[in-house]
């Protein structure tokens, strides 16, 4: 009867069949752009604290399942490393069993690499609490620690803490967007509570920005809320949007939507737009000069009788909830630089039919705000002339209903 193997035996065998390669040699190959795959088999927290440039992270525990997605060609040279060498040798053996033919181990591991003064990089460190809170984000390569750190450093302005802004603010806060600006001059009304889920019954009569701030503070202490208890107007819009990465338009008047659009184009800030009416919603992303702006899509506002607000026409509470979350999704995509943002596409949602319809939206070459001509004039420092209507202002609106 043979003696069971000890770990030392296992390691000795693995070591005997695996070549080691010196850090300086790996660095030279890396700089020369060799076909080499450098695979870091340590745990995620070790990786985040520092790793080789250009390395691929596949934790030892997932190596067999995950390596194929990263390294398809079985004859591609692979250098494995861990902090020392133990995990690397065991990993090398596993890779050979999977048919990889050119596997070696970094001599002395990451410790020797650092000691030799060779280059390495670290992801932004997340705290233990943050690792736990955002663990479902960290598991996905499209977000990961780097993406989560980016979200924590991001600033999003939510204009209107109403039907769209409430669910959007909740989910963006939960996702760990580090700074949420909230613009709303209104107070919580009992009739808001059917859909504006960031507010609560005991806060009827409170300022909406204060109510939103309290809910967000209870949900996620990582988030700083900047409250703007004022109505967005032509006079303050430039100040309000300055410094934000993305603006989420959750307003409910055409006047505010056009004002926000014009200023955001000038400032080069993308706006994630949604609007709702009864059982329907519209959603799109206005990324300045890349796709259309709000004026390209709707050059002039309809007369008031053709566009009654929620307070007149009513709205099914979940519809702004759905549209507000679709907006949040677009915001996160823009912040993370992933996926295909809804630029140049107008998405319609019909809650009764249960259908989504996508329409094409184009940049208007004659747009007074975002055409090449308007852009050039703006860059020359000239004032952009907007279409005026009798009665003054950019447009004459039949009635001025304050945002709710």
């Amino acid at each position: 009867m043979t003696q069971p193997k000890t770990v030392a035996d296992l390691l000795r065998d693995a070591r005997a069949e695996t070549p080691e390669v010196a850090p300086a040699t790996v660095e030279r190959a890396r700089r020369e752009g060799a076909r080499l795959a450098i695979v870091d088999v340590r745990e995620l927290d070790e990786w985040d604290q520092g790793h080789l440039p250009d390395a691929i992270h596949v934790a030892r525990s997932y190596l067999e399942q995950a390596i194929e997605a990263e390294v398809q060609e079985r004859d591609r040279p692979i250098v494995i490393y861990c902090s020392g060498v133990t995990r690397s040798f065991l990993a090398a053996r596993a890779l050979r069993e999977l048919g990889y033919t050119d596997v070696s181990v970094l001599e002395g591991g990451f410790n020797a690499w650092k000691a030799a003064g060779l280059p390495w990089r670290a992801e932004v460190a997340l705290s233990t609490d943050q690792r736990q809170r955002y663990s479902r984000h960290l598991l996905m390569p499209e977000v990961g620690s780097a993406g989560q750190a980016k979200l924590l450093e991001s600033k999003v302005l939510i204009v209107g803490a109403g039907g769209l802004g409430s669910p959007a603010a909740l989910y963006l806060a939960a996702a760990g967007v580090g700074t949420l600006g909230i613009v709303d001059f209104d107070v919580v009304d009992a009739s808001n509570l059917q859909r504006q889920v960031i507010h609560t019954t005991d806060r009827v009569g409170d300022k909406k920005v204060d109510s939103a701030r309290r809910t967000i503070a209870a949900l996620n202490p990582d988030v700083t809320v900047v409250g703007h208890d004022e109505m967005l107007t032509e006079a303050n819009v430039d100040r309000l949007i300055a410094g934000y990465d993305v603006v989420l338009d959750g307003t409910d008047t055409f006047e505010t939507r056009y004002t926000l659009n014009d200023a955001a184009v000038a400032a080069g800030i993308p706006v994630v737009h949604a609007s709702v009416f009864r059982f329907e919603g519209q959603l799109t992303v206005f990324r300045p000069y890349d796709g259309p702006c709000y004026r390209c899509l709707y050059p002039t506002p309809p007369p008031p009788e053709m566009a009654p607000g929620c307070s007149v026409a009513g709205v099914l509470g979940v519809v702004p909830g759905i549209m507000g979350l679709l907006q949040s999704n677009e915001v996160l995509k823009l912040l993370l630089g992933i996926g295909e943002p809804l630029v140049g596409r107008l998405l319609l949602y019909d809650a009764l039919d249960g259908t989504f319809t996508e329409l094409r939206a184009r940049r208007d070459p004659a747009c007074p705000v975002c055409s090449d001509e308007a852009r050039a004039a703006r860059e020359r420092g000239e004032a952009v002339r907007l279409p005026s209507a009798p009665g003054g202002g950019a447009f004459a609106l039949g009635s001025s209903v304050p945002p709710r």
């Binding site: 209107g160 109403g162 039907g163 769209l164 802004g165 338009d249 959750g250 307003t251 409910d252 008047t253 055409f254 939507r257 949604a274 609007s275 709702v276 009416f277 009864r278 059982f279 329907e280 519209q282 899509l297 709707y298 050059p299 002039t300 506002p301 309809p302 007369p303 053709m306 566009a307 009654p308 607000g309 929620c310 026409a313 709205v315 702004p320 319609l348 319809t357 996508e358 329409l359 094409r360 939206a361 184009r362 208007d364 945002p403």
Partner: protein, 90 residues
Amino acid sequence: MSVVKIPTVLRPSVGGAKELDIHGDTVGGVVRALVERHPTLGGQVFTPDGELNRYVNVYLNGQDVRYLAGLDTPVDEADEVRLLPAMAGG
């Protein structure tokens, strides 16, 4: 026959219909035939000069007709014409 999708806000003018089958060779022909059948739509869709109101977008199979040939854009049988005004609710 083309299918014309009617937005909620205009449905009262067409007896509540969500969509209507309308015949026409061009987008303008289809919309004018629609207005002939439901005259109260006229003021909402057209300017006094017979142009499309700029606050009502018209899409042919998902494409804004402003970037096709406008009201002269040809329409085939089984095409979908959609009227879409802006909405502001939030």
